[in-house]
Symmetry: C2
Subunit: 208 residues, 2 copies
């Protein structure tokens, strides 16, 4: 059985992918609107994971092209709201739906204590029913505190301010698009300046 | 790192234990009020799991003695309510608390779509804070439909009517206690007659 997981190369999606590899062949899927090549950051991490974990039978990695309309609509939402949460959730929902059209088992790295981009249980069930798929959230039963211990045990990570680094999360193409369409001032106005992203830079311990 | 998981030998707690074995040494813990020896049913399954999964480094199994007062209070609740849900949840909460007094990482086999004995997120966080522990619910991000596919792939299970079989779940000592104290009629009145329990009887496929 193959599961396709939305993958940014951050600590949560890495941990979720490794956990899924207990039961499934895992395909790592990074989204792109074709605006930046930031998906390459995720591909580098995917290679590291595939190399180190024998059990991850497919170290397969793919880029999922998302319709640019989704980005435009998310940006409009964000401009209206003056904060990014709903727009980012919108992209995540559309990414899950796009993936659900292609494969039967989909997953992501959402944790129990996450607030963005978390779908409600009703939305999760609706997604499963509408597309007749399985949507797995392998970290949903883990607190942030527990995840931190596991990440620290298995991965070497690097944390960056979102302003100093371009990762493979949705946020970066979104920022780029908003900057071009609405000006750089809007970015400072809307996105928190101290937000950090993590990326896995190495594997400390083989997990099998 | 060792995690102690509440374990009945049913399909959910087996699957949860195997999943946890990806990251932790797993201790299987079955509760007993000392009224029946039904914990032996769980021990048999524990042996099967430990035998087949190399990765389950500790096939360790233990019986957790619970204070009989907990059973008495749960039974009183159930008699008052005329349905078992709140009483069973009460036992589960007390079992988690008893375990939390002994070890730092605790877990159970609760799924996303379970209704009993599910703690609310506030109760989960309270438990973690009060005892300064990690409470992991490894199946919380999996639907019943997904669990069924995994169970079918890895385990041979047998389903029994609760009236025809005595498993290692809390329910069976509870029934016994209520029968003795309030009479057999109460059992028919309170517990659903068509409720089924599952027990894992064999392992289909080695998971590693």
């Amino acid at each position: 059985m193959k599961v396709s997981i939305l993958f940014s190369g951050g600590k949560d999606s890495c941990l979720a992918a490794v956990l899924l590899s207990k039961f499934f062949e895992v395909e790592l899927v990074t989204c792109s609107f074709g605006i930046l090549s930031n998906w390459k950051k995720a591909e580098e991490v995917a290679k590291k994971l595939g190399f180190s974990f024998n059990e991850l039978k497919t170290s397969s990695f793919k880029v999922l092209k998302l319709d640019k309309k989704i980005l435009e609509e998310a940006a409009e939402k964000i401009i209206q709201d003056s904060f990014p949460a709903n727009g980012i959730k919108y992209i995540h929902q559309k990414a899950l739906e796009t993936l659900a059209e292609q494969t039967e088992l989909i997953a992501d790295g959402i944790r129990r204590d996450d607030r963005v981009p978390v779908l409600s249980l009703a939305e999760v069930k609706h997604l499963e029913d509408k597309f007749n798929i399985h949507y797995i959230q392998p970290l949903m039963g883990y607190s942030r505190k527990t995840i931190n211990i596991l990440v620290d045990k298995f991965f070497k990570i690097k944390e960056y301010k979102s302003t100093d680094f371009v990762g493979a999360e949705y946020e970066f193409e979104l920022r780029e698009y908003i900057k071009k369409k609405y000006g750089a001032g809007k970015i400072k106005e809307i996105f928190p300046q101290n937000h950090t992203q993590s990326i896995v830079v190495d594997i400390k311990e083989k997990i099998c």
